[in-house]
Subunit: 274 residues, 2 copies
């Protein structure tokens, strides 16, 4: 961006011929600070919109931390410290080409606003409840990072899909799950307030990546022995909408909260996510 | 932004002393094209969050077209061709100081993607239905502008509120309404897809400003004799979240779709807004 603006400035000198003048950035461009940037909607993904989306290079241009999935729903995405990891259903963690696309993802530039040391919890629900006590704002989205030691972890991933694409609530019936014990690594998560509706997952949504980058996936259960939570409150939400016929056709009313709970949690939904 | 980046580039030369170096823009800043930029959430406004928000100068920095309301809910906002108009409950249209704040607004840089000439409709619902046939994308937000001649128009505004602040569904019971006949002017509207939930108004939301800038308000009913629709599909949604205790406290679950229909429409909700 710096370069293109610089080109613009240099191209506007009095001697620059009209034909070679660099076009001004469209006046429809705005800058946004401290944003959670989301590509597509969970409701659209849940309805079966598993194709295309932005390239990973575009994702990394707007964030260095987050979660998502890949073209054809090929595994769970973990974005950590500016790297994208793909936890595939074969149990292997890859760093995919930045030309791979992501039909759904949410990322931010992780900018720590606060931390909690010596966090421990006997279950994922207890962990969520413990974090609820620490986050200062009820109605802001948060990026959450927990580096620590896990006594137990249940992870899942899903295999790449083929047409005709089933709704996500049916696809997760094909999920592969793994149980791990005594593992060091990082929980990469988001907390979205209740107002997010079906744009994303209300409440907590966790993916995991081990310290040795060999194990990862969507977190179904965990017991945290000891860890440090870092949180980043996001002051804006940016939703980039797909330019596809599939996205145009999806019916937001067809996806309900029970479906999203079934997809993302497979655990009882707390009566109040905060 | 151009200037600050230019300063950055110039300030980084080898002779620039450390103390005078211009700080880099935060790496948490992202640029977004073709966005509908929304300040706060309709659900929060509906719950009674009527205070503060961004200054109008901040609004105009991210759009030249849109709708909203003012500090203390003091009238209906129309943003047209880069000017902000305030349709107050006393029936007067003002151009307020750009230091005035807006607790809720949605704006975009209007960038015409298409138009429909010779539009006519005997009611607002028929107008909405007619536009449904013309908008190419079901699931994108649209900014909509109709310049024309109106045989009938029913407009409303609301007076500035005082504490304790009642929910919006109760405040609109104090609304002032006006009927006008044979008036030239502009409908300034948004269409939000069903997935928007309670972030904004699902379906159509219209404000009006007369050609002579003397009459305006939120549109409750209209008969369009003849007009031209221009539409602008927005490829991104940006939601800027308030930094206030009131916003932190609001409960998204407390606002339901019936309330929003009662607030914004006072007409039967179509079974499918598109």
């Amino acid at each position: 961006m710096t370069l293109s603006l610089l080109s613009l400035v240099c191209g506007c000198g009095p001697t620059a011929p009209e034909a070679h003048r660099v076009a001004a950035p469209p006046r429809t461009t705005v800058t946004v600070d401290d944003a959670l940037v989301q590509f597509s909607l969970l409701a659209s993904l849940a309805a079966g919109d598993y194709l295309d989306g932005p390239r990973l290079s575009e994702l990394l241009a707007v964030g260095d931390f987050g979660i998502g999935t890949f073209h054809r729903l090929d595994g769970e995405m973990i974005v950590l410290d500016g790297h994208v990891y793909q936890a595939s259903a074969d149990g292997v963690i890859r760093q995919p080409s930045l030309d791979v696309t992501a039909p759904f993802a949410a990322v931010t530039f992780f900018d720590e606003d606060g931390r909690v040391e010596n966090l421990a919890a006997h279950s994922l629900d207890l962990l969520d409840a413990r974090i609820n006590q620490s986050l200062p704002h009820r109605n802001l989205p948060y990026a959450l990072r927990i580096d620590g030691e896990f006594s137990e972890l249940t992870l899942r991933s899903v295999p790449a899909q083929n047409p005709p694409y089933e709704p996500l609530v049916d696809v997760v019936k094909q999920q592969v799950t793994w149980e791990h014990h005594n593992l060091r690594g990082t929980l990469v998560g988001l907390h979205c307030p209740g107002w997010i509706g079906n744009l994303n997952v209300t409440g907590y949504h966790w993916h995991f990546l081990s310290e040795d980058r060999q194990i990862g996936g969507h977190v179904l259960a965990c017991q945290l022995k000891q860890g440090t939570l870092r949180y980043d409150a996001c002051r804006s939400l940016v939703v980039r909408l797909p330019e596809s016929d599939v996205f145009d056709r999806f019916d937001a009313q067809s996806i309900d909260q029970q479906d999203i709970d079934a997809i993302e949690r497979q655990r009882e939904r707390p009566s109040d996510s905060r």
